[in-house]
């Protein structure tokens, strides 16, 4: 399937992907119209393979026919191209470096650990829960009493993290633990983010995500 020739901005994505959600939230924040193309990750499309030959993964943003890959690279690209509205990265170099550092920390730590939360059982699950709480507590210290990670405005680090907040309920149900009890500030932050149109529009229903992760568990033979 070829991308619509008339669409200036095309997004190759998967509804449930937290990485894809980052990109969609950024596009919503900027008010950018785009054509969404849901991908089949088992029978990958020619367009996906040609647009991302290195990883063959989503999300891929195709702008004027040119592909941009890797979610945080895409979000920075969106921020720089549509710079007139809702800046996601701060203006000052040190603050920008801090934002990049924490988004990178989230990339390095959160995905791998949260995958273990829904994939593992027994001792491995207990370890995953311990690791997860440590990571979230580190983020909570960084957030402090700020409204968002950068201060008063919703930005790059919030975009990087919030799709994972969207899965907290599902993780709690599957792994049987309570995140808010140990990290109330992060949960409060997540709820503040959910009040933003961009976030509430893009993040799927808790129940849908829970069922999706259960389906993946079954598919991978975890039960």
């Amino acid at each position: 399937m070829a991308a619509n020739d008339h669409a200036e901005v095309v997004l190759l994505d998967l509804w449930a992907s937290p990485f894809g959600q980052r990109v969609r939230i950024a596009l919503e924040e900027k008010g950018v119209e785009y054509e969404y193309m849901e991908q089949d990750m088992i029978n990958k499309s020619t367009l996906l393979i040609e647009s991302n030959p290195v990883y063959k993964k989503i999300p891929v943003l195709i702008h004027h026919g040119k592909p941009v890959c890797e979610s945080l690279v895409i979000v920075q690209y969106i921020d720089e191209v549509w710079s007139h509205k809702a800046p996601l990265l701060p203006g000052e170099p040190f603050a920008r470096a801090q934002a990049r550092f924490w988004a990178d920390f989230i990339d390095k730590k959160i995905y791998e650990c949260t995958t273990r939360l829904w994939k593992c059982k027994g001792e491995a699950l207990e370890e995953a829960k311990k690791d997860f709480m440590e990571i979230v507590k580190t983020l909570e210290v960084e957030l402090g009493d700020k409204t968002f990670f950068n201060g008063d405005t919703f930005g790059f680090v919030d975009v990087a993290l919030v799709p994972f907040f969207g899965r907290f309920n599902a993780y709690e149900k599957i792994a049987n633990f309570n995140i808010e009890k140990e990290c109330p500030k992060i949960v409060a932050w997540g709820r503040r983010c959910m009040h933003r149109d961009s976030v509430s529009k893009i993040l799927p229903d808790d129940q849908k995500i829970y069922e999706f992760l259960l389906m993946l568990r079954k598919y991978l033979g975890v039960e």
């Binding site: 941009v68 170099p93 040190f94």
Partner: protein, 246 residues
């Protein structure tokens, strides 16, 4: 003035530390290099990078910036002069993508060769390294358009991200007998490697291949009980793993 005070915490053998050194040199920024003592982490490092406790850390006016490619971007934005990242958003995205690829896939494949549990896995890791170099050869061809560097006429972000690994790549080739930068496979990269290494901003920061080989042998002697069974090339990769954990 405090805001002009620039320090870099690092170690001579670390490819990641080389990156901000090259960037600072390109910008003509004077800085104090604080070499970490082998085998221990200083109070300053632990205080400046509490999350990872790793080098490099740039201290600008006392404020710490961590993670090598994030530091490079910071240097590019904080000081004017030589542009490290391209000005066009699309080309910036391409540069960031390849920087990420080098750190996320290519370099782990390189160091993964020593950790491969089977011959099959080792073969796969080696193939991944060559496949990565092939991708990068194509990038150089496309973005270079006959120019010497990924950044065109001058050193840019991808040059720094990849070039910082040349020292250890050469040291590995010397000891293992396996040629990674092969003229018959990636001729542009071979040419690029020479030009990059000879650049004013790189020469003083690039560790000598023989010194890296010596360092790896020293590490092997120190931890000989642990790595006795490993072949020379594997020893080097283990050393590299060790360096990158600093």
């Amino acid at each position: 003035m405090a805001s002009d005070d620039v320090k870099l915490i690092g170690a001579w053998a670390s490819p990641y530390v080389m990156r901000p050194r090259i960037a600072l040199n390109l910008k003509g920024v004077e800085y104090e290099f604080l070499e970490e003592k082998f085998g221990s982490k200083s109070e300053l490092l632990l205080k400046s990078n509490p999350v990872y406790k790793k080098i490099p850390v740039l201290l600008h006016g006392g404020k710490p910036i961590c993670e090598s490619l994030i530091i490079v971007q910071y240097i590019d934005e904080a000081w004017s002069g030589h542009s490290i990242l391209p000005s066009d958003p699309y080309h910036r995205a391409v540069a960031r993508f390849w920087g990420h690829y080098i750190d996320d896939k290519w370099f782990p494949a390189l160091t993964g060769i020593s950790r491969a549990p089977t011959d099959e896995a080792k073969k796969e890791a080696i193939e991944q390294v060559f496949a990565g170099l092939k991708f990068l050869e194509e990038v150089l061809e496309k973005s270079g358009a006959g120019k010497p560097f990924f950044g065109g006429d001058t050193i840019g972000y991808i040059d720094i991200a990849l070039g910082s690994h040349l020292g250890w790549l050469r040291a590995t080739e010397k000891l293992s007998g396996l040629t990674y930068l092969d003229e018959s496979k990636t001729p542009l990269l071979v040419c690029w490697a020479e030009k990059f290494s000879a650049h004013e901003a790189v020469k003083c920061a690039m560790p000598e291949t023989d010194k890296l080989v010596e360092f790896a042998q020293m590490l092997k002697a120190k931890f000989s009980a642990y790595i006795d069974a490993l072949s020379p090339s594997i020893t080097l990769f283990s050393s590299l793993n060790y360096i990158c954990s600093l």
